[in-house]
């Protein structure tokens, strides 16, 4: 039927990814394969290297070895901005919104590369400036509506309630029109109700935008509730990989989390 219904197309693939910081092997021989439309979880104890992997995937760090492929395109060693353009967007463990800017403008920053007009047209306010800005406003409002944030459009981002800030970060990431969305501990600091709402939001994003989501999370309820597949990381290496329930019942995984 359409491309999306084709089964098992791999969107993100890493091969033998590794990076060291001084003598510390932060990530070693990391292989992952995420299919289109999948909700994929990356879990592991603190310091296991999860966020390092996100930083490798987004070009913040350059891997010492291995390869990153998105939709068959090799992104290894590319700059952050090119990786963003290629279609990987992320949110942050500690929310990093542009807190002094209005909510709407935060989303518009995400739209930056998709709505062209030149700096000169902006300074002189030529007709194209007005037209493009209007289109951007419309698109940004649309995204805010999707996340139920349209009522906050003029608020400063820092004045939003915590849970809404998390949603705004996802909205801003979605504005870059990604193929793959990386969520770094989206439920951190949330109460159970907020977490439940967040789970629905993530599922909704996947369904509505046919989005592929790779998320890091410590909240096992969230992981078990929405992730279809899991990779468990321990000391920079893959400890287990597979269907969520299988992985969570793996004795090695239980040991890594709870100790002997």
């Amino acid at each position: 039927m359409n491309k999306f219904s084709e089964e098992k197309t791999v969107l993100l693939e890493t091969k033998n990814l590794g990076i060291s910081f001084g003598g510390l092997r932060a990530v070693n021989a990391f292989d992952i394969s995420v299919e289109k439309g999948q909700l994929y979880g990356l879990i592991g104890p603190n310091g296991a290297g999860k966020t390092t992997i996100f930083n490798l995937l987004t070009g913040v760090y350059t891997p010492d070895e291995g390869a990153i492929l998105l939709d068959g395109v090799n992104l290894t060693g590319k700059k952050t901005i090119d990786i963003c353009k290629a279609g990987i967007a992320r949110t942050f463990q500690n929310i990093r919104l542009f807190s002094d800017m209005p909510v709407l403008d935060n989303v518009k920053v995400g739209l930056h590369n998709h709505y062209p007009y030149s700096t000169l047209e902006g300074i002189l306010r030529l007709p194209r400036y007005h037209k493009v800005e209007q289109e951007m406003n419309a698109r940004a409002m649309e995204l805010l509506e999707v996340f139920g944030l349209e009522g906050y459009a003029d608020y400063k981002a820092e004045n939003l309630p915590y849970g809404q800030q998390r949603k705004l970060e996802i909205a801003r990431a979605m504005a870059t029109n990604p193929k793959l969305l990386l969520l770094d501990e989206p439920a951190a600091g949330m109460n159970p109700n907020e977490t439940k709402e967040l789970m629905e939001t993530i599922r909704f994003v996947r369904d509505r935008f046919e989005m592929t989501v790779l998320l890091i999370e410590h909240d096992m309820k969230l992981v078990a509730g929405i992730c279809e597949k899991l990779t468990v990381l321990n000391f920079g290496e893959v400890l287990a990989q597979g269907e969520t329930q299988e992985v969570l019942n793996d004795p090695d995984v239980i040991t890594a989390y709870l100790g002997e």
């Binding site: 987004t58 913040v60 952050t80 901005i81 963003c84 353009k85 967007a89 992320r90 942050f92 990093r96 919104l97 542009f98 807190s99 002094d100 800017m101 403008d105 518009k108 920053v109 995400g110 930056h112 590369n113 709505y115 007009y117 700096t119 902006g122 300074i123 400036y129 493009v132 800005e133 951007m136 801003r172 990431a173 504005a175 870059t176």
Partner: protein
């Protein structure tokens, strides 16, 4: 009546400080560095107008545009050659480099134009304004300076708040890393900031030299430092802060010169800075940085 005249002259001088301070404050806000070479860009701007208008006889307005273009190019080049390689280096290294660039510009000007004072011809050739039957004479350059500064200030605020590149600038100033991950070209954005700051410096240079028509390779350094003070005074990183700081500084300086002592004027200006920073360390409109623990 003379008080009003001093006040208006102070506002005019302050407007020039404000224009220069905008360059300091924007670059600081976005690149988190103090571009101490900014004052010398003003001097170069002045020389460009001097050469094109006074020597080559080009129309002064066209000369100003040439000067803006030259300073924009100069600002972007300085950023590209001297500051960009130091991105991520310690702030101290960047600061020392900026001071180095400042001396470089001064000495290149010294080499090219010599140390003698050039008589800069006023580019504002409008008649002076006479009020109250000639009791109060306001020079046309004073009025033009104030008006130009207000227009630039409003335009710049609109530009930063309402355009894509302005939003990119704000985003980079708040969080470079996050901005980059949202697809913002950080280096490009910083270059645009330098370009805008330097073209404003050219305008400031022309207005300054028109009001005080003598030009030497050191013309830019004192106004540069005072504009830096104005930027800190108003809250560095804040555009309206730079404007208010500049105007206040100009007025205080001029009134001190008129009523207290012209020798002590600078001392008074800097003492006020110290007092403001003691009472309000972030400057008048500066934001408190809250660190979440």
């Amino acid at each position: 009546m003379s008080f009003v005249a001093h006040l208006i002259n102070g506002i005019s001088l302050g407007s020039v400080y404000a224009l220069i301070a905008l360059g300091y404050t924007m670059v600081y806000g976005i690149a988190k560095m103090l571009n101490f070479a900014h004052g010398d860009v003003i001097m170069i701007g002045g020389y460009v107008v001097f050469v094109t208008a006074s020597s080559l006889g080009i129309n002064p307005l066209a000369a100003i545009i040439v000067s803006m273009a030259a300073c924009t190019l100069l600002g972007v080049t300085i950023e590209r050659v001297a500051y960009r390689p130091l991105r991520g280096a310690s702030p101290l290294a960047v600061l020392i480099t900026a001071i180095g660039v400042s001396y470089l510009l001064q000495n290149v000007a010294l080499l090219v134009f010599g140390s003698d004072t050039k008589a800069f011809s006023n580019v504002v050739t409008l008649p002076n304004l006479e009020l109250f039957g000639g009791q109060l004479i306001i020079k046309s350059v004073t009025i033009v300076t104030v008006i130009v500064s207000i227009i630039i200030m409003v335009g710049l605020t609109l530009f930063v708040k309402k355009t894509k590149i302005g939003r990119a600038m704000t985003a980079v100033s708040e969080d470079q890393g996050a901005a980059q991950l949202m697809g913002i070209n950080v280096n490009g954005t910083i270059a645009v900031t330098f370009a805008i700051g330097s073209s404003l410096a050219a305008v400031a240079g022309v207005l300054l030299c028109s009001a005080y028509p003598s030009l030497t390779p050191y013309t830019g350094s004192m106004p540069g430092i005072k504009a830096f003070v104005a930027a800190v005074f108003g809250g560095i990183g804040s555009i309206p802060g730079a404007f208010i700081g500049g105007i206040l500084l100009g007025v205080i300086e001029n009134l001190s010169k008129a009523y207290i002592s012209s020798q002590l004027a600078d001392a008074i200006v800097f003492s006020i800075l110290i007092i403001v920073l003691l009472v309000k360390p972030t400057g008048l409109l500066g934001k408190k940085v809250l660190e979440k623990v």
